[in-house]
Each structure stands twice: as structure tokens, then as C-alpha cells.
Symmetry: C2
């Protein structure tokens, strides 16, 4: 594996009457002895070479960007922690959350991780609001700076945790959807959401941290993962990479549900993608007591024979709400224990846990956390949209769910979800449960892989070039399938034999 | 010839439902149709593509840097003046003067030219003072900004003259001596003048205008010509290139006299260089009424049989002083007409033009312009140093002056000089006068050549790798030869047969 950057420890001969090699060329000669032919050096680095050599007895650490043609991007004093460790930051730049991981790019070890709400949400809650905000003078720059500022913030904290200066982080990879990547780079997203839906760019390439405003090593290479048109972003490509589905013979499905839901079907020879807005109900904000999977979120929940709940909370603190996996658990459990019917309506008189609220009848999880019929309705819409999209896409490809070898579940959605529960409410198809593979934050995982190996970046570009995007039109057929899916688990019982059996 | 940058006029298809190519990829596809495979685009350029395409009906001018791997460095509206013209600025960054030329890099035509006193002279008169100034906190940055500011100033004026915005200047080449290149780039020159005399770098490479503070096209490539150690700078390499001596079979000498004097001897197979501080007397400042070759400078002067002067003035305005060529003329004429003896002393009673001044006896050119015995002494020192250096270097190589096929005279010195006069005072060797070739500002000419053809930059690097530097030690032999040359034209008459003949 060739990581994006490499550090070299150089013990160089001193300049003398017999060796008048200039300082820059002396460092390059040292790297050549290590087998590396560096061909370019930014002026900011040339400026520090002379003093760094002379203040450190000609023993320095050289950082080289390995992408494309080797470039010397830093020369610094030798420090024990830095000598052996090349660090990079992987960024999952989500519409709602920004999740970062600081990794040792030689070993792949995660040194520290953290996440933050994307501060752009305060400017525009969803993608469309943010694209609209860019019409205002300075609006795009405001959004760009919000994202860059948040990443700098997190990078600073992660560096602190790892005991290195932020300026020691020597590379970065940004994985986001098409609009997020545009806003991060300061590219006008106007045409992403307007016919004929053309992004400013698909392949962004590699930049320098200083040109993007990132406060890490100034000349650090920053890979912004490419996208495929307006609807398939780098986050999805990262997920495909992380799943390995594009290297397999058998057909896989990858479902990536963040704020939007994307579905990818394919193998090493072909990949088909479709997308739709399906996620908000699972991320908090739409469902009454929903919240993102963060400390204080209930992530797992069961209902016993007395209709009493038991649950686990992320971070072992008092619960503040429920994340997506708990919402799916709860819907499944309410249905299994007979508290709601197939349409998601509470059956009166079953338990005192069901109370009346402003949102109609609701199941009381705790004094402050309730799950209303309105919430259930939202969640059923989400699961129906997901299942319909899956059905339509495989039918258009001309396969059935039984042809699927692996079913990857990724995104916020895939971090804590119980696949069997998602099947039991008819959100995911009823296939053998061992075919489901939870990827967790595959956008972040793919970004880490891009830092660890240049071949991963090439592979992502290859994946991008393989993808065919299918528009899931709100056709009459789609709407009819969608209506049929608005039932727990489905109006067609034959589609969910394992649920009906249990 | 492949110039450093090329402009392409692109008339692109509009985005449509049938052609959802993103904006960036649309421009790259247009360039591919022109046979150009662009591989990288800076973020600042990606940012302007969408609006530039849409505000100009998808007809734009793309500027591509051709060095190394093609890079798209600007996309702008099509303008008649810009469509056909790619412009670059060549900079002769001299210790005393900065001379710039704005050229059409497709035709080589000079669109405008201008020069300015290097504002660094106000901070430190000579190279050593400036290197010393860099020891002060902020001193290097002060010098860097002075040079960059002056170049920006001139670039703005040249662009105005040519009727283009300064941001339309799409490339630059900087030619200067080793210290000037260091100061321009912000590299510490401390070790240039201290044993073992090691520059921070010999090969600087190519930078972007924005990274150097140049106010031209932000991503414009800026070539800073390389140097060969502390004493042979890019200005000399540019001169060698401009002379063509490194492509010839026959042996040439190139003498480049600016503030310092460099001598190069060689042909296509070998090049030997030596250098020394010989110039100041010819540039003004050292000689009483000396000044640089600028409007108001006497550049040519004769003395008639009545010992009366006649002269021409640059710019046809009242004379303010004498430039190097006039000083050499005048010394030659004073000697030829018998007003001074071989040691440079005025012979009393010959003419009333010789008056007494604070600097001793002096020849009065005008009421305000006098040439003192002290000035003559300085000039004789300069010419003796030059001749001695020439003698020593060819003797060390093992050739004689008769082996020389061409004798190139370059630098400030070479712009207006009369070779026969320089021979007559024993500054240049007494070889057939048609072997002398005046190159003018060959530092600037070489910089222009580097803008017009990438091969010229390669050729300069090849020249740099060929050069052997010889130290002209103040040995006993050198001092003895120097003393012998402190006579007009020389104590050994056999060396200057043509002068003694006339």
C-alpha cells in the first residue's frame, strides 16, 4: 500500500568546502538515496529548509506527497512522535453531521475520532435551503466557511487528543454528497437541483490544504472524493469502496441512508445507482423524539409481554431521544406485541403506556420520550419509500432479491440498525439474515481507505466511471407499489414469509 | 515552439437533458477536442467555471499551463484582444535595476517595456548590505516585498500600455543573480556569502503567481531561473542561452557586467564560469558623474582636436550624468587625445577643460558633469580587474584569446558599449573587432526565451548542469597580472597591437 503521504527521516551530511550542495538539493539527494525522486517543492517549504537543517544538525523529517509526482510538502525537526507516524484526517462531510477520524496512515490505526453537527444546518436545514442560500451575496462563502471552520475545529481537537500539532496532520480526504462537496470547495451548487441537473464538477481532484482554508499542514494534499452527477456523491462511492462490492462476482446491494437514501446494485462488471430523499425520519428532526446516534440516544429498544420497554442508551447517560435504529426497533416491537395494527394505528385499550399527546396517541418510552402515531406514519412513509425503491431498481435491472449475494447497509442508518427488525417492518427485503452486512459509516471508512492507499483513490475513480444512474420517477407504477408498501410489513404477505411465520 | 501557457477559444455545447456533463468536465472535453489532455485544475479556477460558462453562452477562453502536465489556470470571457494574445512578463531582476518586458508569447513580440530602480537599494545598496539586512527580524520579508512590489508596479503599467488587465498576464519568468532570486522568493541568503558559500537552492522550479505575491493571473506559472552556486545566477544562464554559445562548436567568451562581472568561456561541450565584483564603476554611484543607462544619461562621447567634447544623450534631454559606455568612451578619448597618461593622470596645461575639483583634477564635460582623476582611477581598477580575470581564466583553461570565435558582451555594460573603445583602454582583449557581439540585456532576453518555449527552460537547466565554476583567487599571480593591467591600455604593449598601431 502506498499512502497519500510518506515521512522520511533524513540524516544528511553537513555542507562543507568539499560539498557545496545547496540546502534544497541536499534534502532531495537524501530522499533520492531512499529511492524517491521528488520533482517539485512549494516555495513555502523551500523557505523553511535552510533554517530547519541548520537548527537540527542536518537531521530532519521530510514529508512527501506520493500522489501523481512526488512533491516535498514539509521539512521539520525530527520528533519521536512524528518520526514514525504519518497522520491524516478522514472527513465524512454529511448534510447533518460532520464525522472525522484522525488516522495513522501507515498502520490504519484510528488515533482519535469526533463528530459535530454540520453548522450549515443553522443557515439552511436541508440541501435545498442551502442551495437557495447561495443565491444571496456571500451566501456560498458563508456556507463554505461554516463547513471548513467545523472541520478545522474538529481537526484541532483530534490533534490535541493524539498529542500532535494540527499542522502535523499531513493529508485529508473529504467524503460528502455532491452538494456538500460543492459547498466545501466554494463551488456554486445552483445547477445541482435545477434541470438539467448538472454539477459544477464531478472529478474535483486533489488540492492543497492552504488553498481550501484547512488549518493542517499547509501543503497537505486534500482529496475531495468525486461524485457521479447531482445525486450520487463521493460519500456513496466511498461506501461502495468500503463494501468491496465492486470487486465481487456476485451481485450486491448497498443501501446508504443518511439525510438522503441511495441504493447501489451491482458487481465488478456493472453498478446501478438510484437515490431519493428518505432519511430525515431516521436522523431526528422529523420524528418527535428522534435524534442522531450520539450520547444520550436510545439505540436499542424492546417491549416485553407487559408492554413495558427496556432499552440501551449510547454513552450510558439518561436518554434524551431515540436514534434511527431505536425507531425501527420500536416500530417493529409495537407491531410484534400487537400494540399497533398493520396500518400503524394504536389498538385502543391494550396498555397504559399508550397516552394521548398533541400528536395523537403515543407510546410512552420514558416520561419525556414518546412515539406518536404521527411519528409512526412518518416512519412508515420512509420504510415504504425505501422498499419501493429497492423493488423498482432490481425489477428494472431484471433480477430478484434472491439473486442478491450480499446486502450492505451503510450510513447513519447502518451504524446501529438491527437488520432483522428492519425486515420485520418491511423496510428491507426478506432475504436470509446472514446476507445483511452492517457497514457503519462507510463514507468515513472509504475516506480512510483513500488516505491509506493511492490505489483506493484510483479504485473510487474507476467505480465512479462504472456507475449508471437510474432516475426513480414518481411514475404510476412507483406510486402503486409505494401504497402497497405502506403496511406492516407489506400488503403482500408472500413477500415477507419470515415475518408472517414468526 | 511550445510557450509556457496557451490560450484556447472554446465554443462548447450547452448542458441539456441529453448532455449532463458537469461544467468542469465540459471545459476539459473541449480542450481534449483541441488535442490537450488537462490533468489538474486549481480550486480557484473550478470556482469560476460555472458562472463564466453561463454568462458567456458557453463560449470561453481557457488558459492552460503547458509545463510538466497541462493544467487549466484560467477560464475567462472571450475578448478580442485576449483571444489571440497570450502575454507573459519577463523580468530582469537586477541588484540595481529591475527591467521588465511584456511579450506576446506566441509571436515573441514585445508589447511594452519598462524599468525601475530596484527599491531594495534604499534598504541596502549592495548585495552584502542586503544579505546583512536579512539578519534583522522581518528584514528578508521587507526585501522580498520591495522586489515583488516593484515588479507588480511595472507589470501594472505594462498591462495598461498594452490595453489588458494585469490579471491577463498569464506567465512570468524571473531572471536574477543568486541573491536576487533568493530575496524574491523569500529564501534566506545568509549562506550565500559565508563559507562554504551554499545557496538555499539552485533549482527553484516553477511556482504560481499567487504564492509569490505577484498580481498577475493568480495561477500563472512563474519560472525562476536556476543558479549554479552562489556566484553564477539565473541572469548569467539566461545570457548564455541568449548568446547561443552553448550550442556552438567554436569557443566563445561571454562577459556579463551588471553590478557584478561574470565571465563564461566554453562551447557545446563545456562551460567554465568565474565571477567578481567589477561593475559598480560602470553603473553609477562609484564614479562621480556616473549614472545608469536611463533618459538623461550621456551614452556616447567624443573629444575633438580642440579637446572639446561632443556627446549624445539617451532620451534627447539635458544630460544628467554618464552611463558605463560613455565612461569607457571618455577614458579612451582622454587617453587618445593625450590629456591623460598611461597611468590615468592628467598631463598639466593641455586644455582649460581640465579643472580642479574636490576630487582633484577633472575633465569638464558640461558645467555640472566632470570626470575626476579619482573616477579614472576607479575605472582603471575595474578594467584591470576585468582584463586580468579574462587572462587568468583562459590561461587556466589552456587556451589563448586567439582561440576565441565569438566574444559576447552582455548586461548593462553590453547595452551601449563600443567594443573598440573598451579594447583601446585595455578592458577587453585586442582581438578582431568583428568577433565582438553586443547582446544588450541578455538576462531579459533569456527570460523572454523561457516564456516563448519550454525547450528554452530545459536548455537553461542543461546549461546549469554543464557549468564548472572556477574561483579566481587573489593569488600572487593574479595580483601581479592585475598590477600590469593598471595601465592604459596595458604595460605589455604587445598585447594591444591595434591600439599602439593607431
Amino acid at each position: 500500500m502506498t499512502p497519500l503521504v510518506k515521512k522520511y527521516f533524513l540524516k544528511l551530511p553537513h555542507a562543507s568546502d568539499d560539498d557545496k550542495t545547496p540546502d534544497l538539493e541536499r534534502v532531495l539527494a537524501g530522499l533520492r538515496r531512499e529511492g524517491l525522486d521528488v520533482v517539485s517543492v512549494p516555495v513555502s517549504v523551500i523557505r523553511k529548509i535552510s533554517s530547519t537543517l541548520r537548527e537540527n544538525d542536518f537531521e530532519v523529517t521530510a514529508t512527501v506527497c506520493m500522489a501523481d509526482k512526488p512533491e516535498l510538502i514539509d521539512v521539520e525537526p525530527v520528533q519521536p512522535t512524528l518520526r514514525s507516524r504519518s497522520t491524516g484526517i478522514a472527513v465524512d462531510l454529511g448534510t447533518t453531521n460532520i464525522v472525522c477520524s484522525l488516522v495513522d496512515i501507515n498502520t490504519g490505526e484510528s488515533l482519535a475520532g469526533a463528530s459535530e453537527t454540520n453548522p450549515q444546518t443553522a443557515i439552511g436545514e436541508d440541501i435545498l435551503a442551502r442551495i437557495h442560500h447561495c443565491l444571496k451575496p456571500g451566501g456560498l462563502e458563508e456556507l463554505r466557511l461554516a463547513a471548513v471552520g467545523a472541520i478545522n475545529d474538529i481537526a484541532g481537537r483530534l490533534a490535541d487528543k493524539a498529542g500532535i500539532p494540527a499542522s502535523g496532520i499531513s493529508c485529508a480526504c473529504i467524503s460528502g454528497n455532491t452538494t456538500m462537496a460543492h459547498l466545501f470547495l466554494g463551488l456554486d451548487p445552483y445547477n445541482i437541483c435545477r434541470a438539467p441537473y448538472v454539477p459544477a464538477a464531478n472529478r474535483f481532484g486533489m488540492f492543497r490544504a492552504k488553498d481550501l482554508g484547512l488549518n493542517i499542514m499547509p501543503e497537505a494534499p486534500v482529496v475531495v472524493l468525486p461524485n457521479v452527477g447531482s445525486y450520487v456523491g463521493g460519500d456513496v462511492l466511498a461506501g461502495i469502496l468500503a463494501s468491496g462490492m465492486a470487486e465481487r462476482d456476485g451481485i450486491s446491494i448497498l443501501v446508504d441512508v443518511g439525510t438522503n437514501a441511495e441504493i447501489i446494485v451491482g458487481n465488478r462488471d456493472w453498478l446501478v445507482a438510484c437515490a431519493g430523499a428518505a432519511g430525515p425520519a431516521l436522523e431526528g428532526g422529523v420524528v418527535n423524539s428522534g435524534m442522531r446516534a450520539a450520547p444520550g440516544a436510545i439505540d436499542r429498544i424492546k417491549i416485553d409481554e407487559n408492554h413495558e420497554p427496556s432499552f440501551s442508551v449510547i454513552g450510558d447517560i439518561p436518554p434524551a431521544g431515540m436514534c434511527g435504529s431505536a425507531l425501527i426497533d420500536l416500530l417493529s416491537e409495537l407491531f410484534r406485541t400487537g400494540l399497533i395494527d398493520g396500518r400503524g394505528k394504536f389498538i385502543p385499550g391494550r396498555t397504559e403506556r399508550v397516552v394521548n399527546t398533541e400528536g395523537g396517541p403515543a407510546y410512552k418510552v420514558t416520561e419525556n420520550i414518546v412515539f406518536t402515531e404521527k411519528d409512526i406514519e412518518n416512519l412508515i412513509r420512509t420504510k415504504a419509500a425505501m422498499y419501493t425503491a429497492l423493488t423498482v431498481i432490481i425489477s428494472e435491472i431484471g433480477i430478484t432479491f434472491s439473486d442478491i449475494e450480499s446486502f450492505f447497509v451503510a450510513g447513519t442508518f447502518g451504524e446501529y440498525i438491527a437488520a432483522d427488525k428492519a425486515v420485520s417492518i418491511g423496510m428491507l427485503p426478506d432475504i436470509p439474515i446472514n446476507k445483511f452486512k452492517l457497514l457503519g459509516n462507510s463514507s468515513l471508512k472509504g475516506a480512510v481507505m483513500a488516505l491509506l492507499d493511492l490505489k483506493a483513490v484510483e479504485q473510487i475513480e474507476k467505480i465512479a466511471s462504472m456507475i449508471t444512474y437510474k432516475e426513480l420517477n414518481a411514475s404510476a407504477e412507483f406510486m402503486s407499489l409505494y401504497r402497497a408498501a405502506m403496511f406492516l410489513p407489506h400488503t403482500d404477505a408472500s413477500l415477507f414469509p419470515s415475518t408472517y411465520k414468526s
